[in-house]
């Protein structure tokens, strides 16, 4: 009997096998818990098409000042929260990077704090804040600020630890102080990557601010939510198209800036 020669690295193959087994077990468990039957969705798709073509399409565009203003609010929320978060995240990251921070204990505390903030979804923060600070755009701003800040702090720390190892060693050898290291070592070497993360966060936040808006943070999300709740599906379709256009435009803009500034 001809024996087969395995093309794959056996160790790699083992990893994939285990991965598939874990996925299969999880799949069975999850299907059991949720009693989700994909065929049911397929059977009921008639309902879906009816909904899509009768209630949803054609979209109705409503160019009232309220809609225009809420788009601007959503956009302003995303940009301003990303910017403020980036400033804070930079300050925290230089103290949170283990290779740079003057106090190791502080570095660990900052990392832990950022991990805590990051692993709780933005909308949960929004709800906690709404219950104590009241509903409004300001609270939506703070909720976005918290999660963006935590995300950027981690990203910035990783950038600092990755990029500037040699530069840091050189500056330490010269006897550079902490702020000299930051200004002469970190800023010139890491700035472009910081900007790349910042642009990515603006993209994320455009979407996130729509969602925070839905639960009371103001902006286009609130308009959309009220349309869906009042069964105005054609209006909702128009708003969804507007949101999609906004997100795609921002993505084009950030891609353009990336090409222009970062290369």
């Amino acid at each position: 009997m001809p024996e087969k020669i395995s093309i794959m690295n056996p160790r790699e193959k083992q990893v994939y096998t285990w991965f598939l087994v874990v996925v299969l077990v999880l799949f069975c468990l999850a299907t059991y818990i949720s009693r989700f039957n994909p065929l049911e969705v397929l059977w009921e798709q008639g309902e879906f098409w009816k909904f899509l073509f009768q209630d949803f399409l054609p979209p109705r565009f409503n160019a009232s000042p309220v809609v225009v203003e809420s788009i601007l609010v959503t956009f302003a929320l995303a940009v301003s929260s990303s910017f403020v978060a980036a400033v804070f995240a930079f300050l925290f990251a230089v103290f949170g990077s283990t290779s740079l921070s003057p106090w190791k204990g502080l570095a660990r505390t900052i990392r832990g704090f950022a991990t805590f903030l990051r692993n709780i979804p933005t909308l949960v923060w929004a709800f906690i804040l709404f219950s104590s600070l009241g509903i409004g755009t300001g609270v939506g701003f703070i909720a976005l600020l918290i999660s963006t800040f935590a995300f950027m702090t981690r990203a910035f720390i990783e950038v600092i630890d990755e990029v500037s190892c040699d530069a840091m060693e050189g500056l330490t050898a010269c006897g550079g102080t902490f702020w000299q290291k930051v200004c002469q070592g970190i800023v010139p070497t890491c700035l472009t990557q910081f900007i790349a993360w910042f642009l990515y966060c603006i993209e994320l936040n455009i979407r996130a601010s729509t969602i925070v808006g839905m639960v009371g943070g103001g902006g286009i999300g609130l308009v959309l939510f009220s349309y869906i709740k009042s069964f105005n599906y054609a209006g909702a379709a128009g708003i969804i198209l507007v949101i999609a256009a906004m997100v795609i435009m921002v993505e084009f803009l950030t891609n353009y800036l990336r090409r222009k500034v970062l290369t």
Binding site: Y16, F19, L26, V73, A76, S132, R207, V247
Partner: protein, 276 residues
């Protein structure tokens, strides 16, 4: 000759205030413009929002009080909370698995080295861009309208966005597979399906796993918030308890969400460090 060169050098240094330029001046000015523009736009945006800072700051003590109340975990309805939580995890797992499968199939049609028809690849990529541009909760809300309350709406809603995400990511991975590999298989007379199964898929496997892990984390946080906009799961427990001033129960639910997200992150970081 030597002298003039030194003179020119000195003149050069004098022009730049005795400093030797280290960075490319062109890029430097672009960066500076960009930073200035971002700062101005952000400040204008912040001003446009007309936030009432005094009111926010005056209410900060209330925030401390809320956190105090959340920290007093209430295990009264732990069974219910746990059930909602397992529902959320199940939605995450199923949405991830189904969207990976769908994403693989769609990416095969979207990859330019597999699908020679340019029109199809462009149409697919535009369609996915649209699907990704709309936030997940919107899809979930629409799925709720069609399918009614329950995990099915959550799974379908999450799948829409995640499938578009995977389709794009996998298309990229498939297109990174070297042209020679495909050509070699074509020369042996392999069919399209053979090429996909025995060349493209194995070559892209590690990237597929990495993307799946990344999306799993995102899907969990998305499915944790679904309940807040009207679908079931742990999000409903959090929102409902906070609105009913049952802060202890809400705190417990939040701790569950945090704990799970943290564990997933730890597992994936370890896997990434050791295997990929």
């Amino acid at each position: 000759m030597e002298q003039t060169f030194v003179q020119a050098r000195v003149q050069c240094l004098e022009f730049s205030n005795g400093r030797i330029r280290v960075a490319r001046s062109g890029q430097d000015s672009e960066l500076r413009w960009f930073l200035a523009a971002v700062t101005v736009v952000s400040i204008v945006a912040l001003y446009y929002l007309q936030l009432d800072w005094l009111k926010l700051i005056s209410r900060l003590p209330d925030l401390g009080k809320t956190f105090g109340l959340l920290a007093l975990l209430d295990f009264h309805d732990f069974g219910l909370t746990l059930e909602a939580f397992s529902q959320t995890v199940a939605i995450t797992v199923l949405a991830t698995i189904y969207s990976v499968l769908l994403g693989l199939v769609l990416a095969a049609f979207g990859a330019r080295n597999l699908m020679k028809n340019k029109f199809v690849t462009y149409a697919l990529s535009a369609f996915f861009t649209f699907l990704r541009a709309v936030p997940t909760p919107v899809w979930v809300l629409l799925a709720l309208v069609c399918l009614g309350l329950g995990p099915a709406a959550g799974i379908v809603g999450l799948c829409v966005h995640a499938t578009a995400f995977f389709a794009r990511a996998f298309t990229q991975s498939f297109e990174d597979v070297p042209e020679e590999v495909i050509e070699a298989l074509e020369a042996t007379g392999a069919s399209k399906l053979h090429i996909f199964l025995s060349a493209i898929l194995p070559a892209a496997a590690s990237q597929i796993m990495a993307w799946t892990g990344l999306r799993f984390e995102i899907n969990f946080s998305e499915s944790a918030i679904l309940g807040m906009i009207g679908a079931g799961g742990i999000g409903f427990a959090i929102a409902n308890n906070i609105q009913g001033y049952q802060f202890g129960a809400a705190g417990l639910a939040i701790v569950l969400v945090f704990g799970f997200a943290y564990c997933v992150e730890l597992v994936f970081t370890t896997i990434k460090k050791n295997y990929i």
